[in-house]
């Protein structure tokens, strides 16, 4: 299958500073998470793909189109939801989204129709005749999303879509991202600092560090459970429990207010732990094998 984004020895520099250093990779997931610490070059990568800043050498392809040679084609295929506030305060949501649609080449009528459609879709239905200036932060994010999908892009680039959203808005945004992925119409590139969001939505992750690719992986395959590490959370007496566990051969370390991490010996049955708990009449609020979270993956990648 054709890769969504193809980086071929891509270099970008501002003046002397090298921001991206010879990135070479072909991404072909449905929804790709783009991670990395501040200044790793995430935004620069996105800007380069959109043709905002030129590649000093090498090139990149989006869905098979060269970002320099076929810039306009690329920008027709891409929808972009920037990180920062981006709207026109004195326009109503409908005319704003409509205009953006028309600028992407939709006909007047089609744009109007789509504008209503996507505004309903993102959940601004009732508010779509209001001026964007009156919108709350959450609504502004949704409006930004609406303008990014109005022209039916093949690749949707989301830069920090959940940043600063309150829990309700955040859940909604996550739901929308899932739904768009499942629609099968588009690929998504999600750039976020909130590992939890990426974890909940993405299939693949690309991790940058200081302008280099340090890790690219499929989350499922990375998240194998390890049958020897367990997490325990008790309610009530702590220290004694830890000792008791060590007594039955677990290396046990307390993580404060009732949380423990334990390494089990070979051939060990969880039952034993319950037995100990039962013996001490202690509540095991949580007991489960430890799986690698995205945070672990990320931290590992950073050590490289």
């Amino acid at each position: 299958m054709q890769p969504v984004i193809e980086l071929d020895d891509l270099n970008v520099r501002f003046g002397e500073r090298e921001i991206l250093k010879s990135l070479r990779i072909a991404l072909s997931g449905r929804i790709i998470g783009l991670l990395g610490p501040n200044g790793a070059g995430k935004s620069t990568l996105i800007h380069t793909l959109l043709g905002f800043c030129p590649a000093s050498s090498g090139t990149a392809k989006i869905l098979g189109h060269d970002i320099r040679a076929e810039a306009d084609k690329v920008r027709t295929l891409v929808g972009y939801m920037p990180e920062n506030d981006a709207l026109i305060a004195d326009m109503t949501a409908v005319s704003f989204v409509r205009m953006m649609g028309e600028l992407s080449g939709l006909t007047e009528e089609a744009a109007l129709e789509r504008a209503h459609e996507v505004l309903f879709y993102v959940g601004l239905g009732e508010a779509r005749y209001r001026q964007l200036g009156t919108y709350s932060l959450g609504m502004r994010q949704l409006a930004k999303l609406a303008q990014a999908i109005v022209h039916g892009p093949r690749l949707l680039i989301l830069d920090e879509p959940t940043n600063g959203l309150d829990p309700a808005a955040r859940t909604r945004m996550i739901k929308l991202i899932h739904d768009m992925k499942d629609s099968g119409e588009m690929h998504l590139l999600l750039c976020s600092h909130l590992l939890r969001d990426v974890e909940e939505t993405c299939e693949d992750v690309l991790i940058l560090k200081q302008g280099r690719i340090v890790h690219y992986a499929n989350l499922e395959s990375e998240r194998r459970t390890n049958k020897r590490f367990v997490e325990i959370q008790t309610h009530g007496d702590d220290a004694g429990f830890a000792e008791a566990l060590t007594a039955i051969g677990c290396e046990c370390s307390a993580a404060g207010n009732g949380r423990f991490k334990a390494v089990l010996p070979e051939e060990f049955e969880l039952r034993e732990i319950y037995r100990v708990a039962a013996g001490r009449d202690l509540q095991l609020r949580r007991l489960n094998y430890r799986r690698d979270t995205l945070e672990d993956i990320f931290m590992k990648a950073m050590e490289v």
């Binding site: 501040n38 600063g164 829990p167 600092h193 969880l270 708990a277 039962a278 095991l284 489960n288």
Partner: protein, 314 residues
């Protein structure tokens, strides 16, 4: 804990014209990490601004460790506030910014230099300290704000979404920092939207909505207060059917549904403590229990129960 060591709000209300900021808030916040949680416009910011005297209460009384916010000259030797405003005095480098405002505290230039250096080091911005703030990234601006709030080593820190825009590495470090301060017996009042983080970091939470405090205290305590929603426990085991029947023998169990994929069972109980105790014994007879976890004993579900997923377009 005597009140003179706490942050106390006594029946505080604030209106902006007709708009309600917060209404009839009465709190006594002990040292430690306290998280303010609530939807946008729930009054978190008003509450923080009230604590730091940036706005004055329409009525009610506020004391920060016994000091009234209307006395800045006393208050701010004690308090540091990192606001949500992402803006800075023009044309200053990170270091100049911290240092010149430290001078306002009456420190000698030598001390202010030293303090500024320390604060910047604490947030890990040392290498960028001499660049103009205008050229900082969102994360760096967030950190320089934090540094400015802690530079004079205050006992009470009020931080508005301090983790917003920080990358995972810095996030972890910053959280560790909060922990340390809390353990030193300082107040760390944090507002946050990222509930699972609130779960991890905070000693106590304050839930606000529409300008009212709807819940306050330790998460677990808050959860148990909510009677109308029985505790949910997720159990993964080899024979959920059998376990379900055993579980049902207990009268405090409301429901036990076998998960769609048949890998386990979701139990609703009115008496979590008893349930967990009995679970130990169930585990000992021939049911292989893979894992146990409370399904809704966290801020997220408390939030859902008390505030709920309100419509965004409001």
């Amino acid at each position: 804990m005597t009140d003179s060591a706490n942050i106390t709000l006594d029946n505080v209300s604030r209106f902006y014209g007709e708009v309600l900021g917060v209404n009839r808030v009465t709190l006594s916040i002990p040292p430690g990490i306290t998280s303010l949680v609530g939807p946008n416009g729930s009054g978190k910011i008003t509450l923080m601004n009230l604590m730091t005297g940036l706005v004055r209460p329409t009525y009610g009384e506020i004391r920060i460790r016994g000091i009234a916010p209307s006395e800045p000259q006393k208050l701010f030797h004690l308090v540091g506030y990192s606001t949500q405003f992402d803006s800075f005095p023009k044309g200053l480098t990170g270091f100049q910014f911290i240092q010149s405002f430290l001078r306002f505290f009456g420190y000698s230039s030598a001390t202010s230099l030293e303090l500024a250096g320390r604060a910047i080091a604490q947030v890990g911005l040392t290498e960028a300290a001499d660049r103009k703030i205008a050229a900082y990234s969102k994360g760096m601006r967030q950190r320089i704000k934090l540094a400015q709030a802690i530079a004079h080593d205050p006992q009470v820190l009020v931080l508005d979404e301090p983790l917003n825009g920080l990358d995972p590495l810095i996030r972890a470090e910053t959280i560790a920092l909060f922990r340390r301060w809390a353990d030193e017996g300082r107040h760390v009042v944090v507002s946050s939207h990222v509930l699972h983080e609130v779960d991890l970091i905070s000693d106590r939470v304050i839930l606000l909505t529409g300008g009212y405090v709807v819940a306050e205290g330790q998460i677990h305590g808050v959860r148990t207060e909510i009677q109308e929603h029985p505790m949910e426990v997720l159990i993964r085991c080899d024979q959920p059917g059998a376990l379900a029947s055993r579980v049902f023998e207990q009268e405090h169990v409301v429901s036990a549904q076998i998960l769609p994929d048949g890998s386990g069972l979701l139990v609703q109980t009115r008496d979590a403590d008893r349930f967990y105790r009995q679970l130990n014994h169930l585990a000992l007879d021939n049911i292989q229990i893979e894992s146990v976890a409370p399904a809704d004993d966290n801020v997220n579900s408390v939030y859902q129960y008390l505030i709920g997923g309100e419509e965004v377009s409001k």
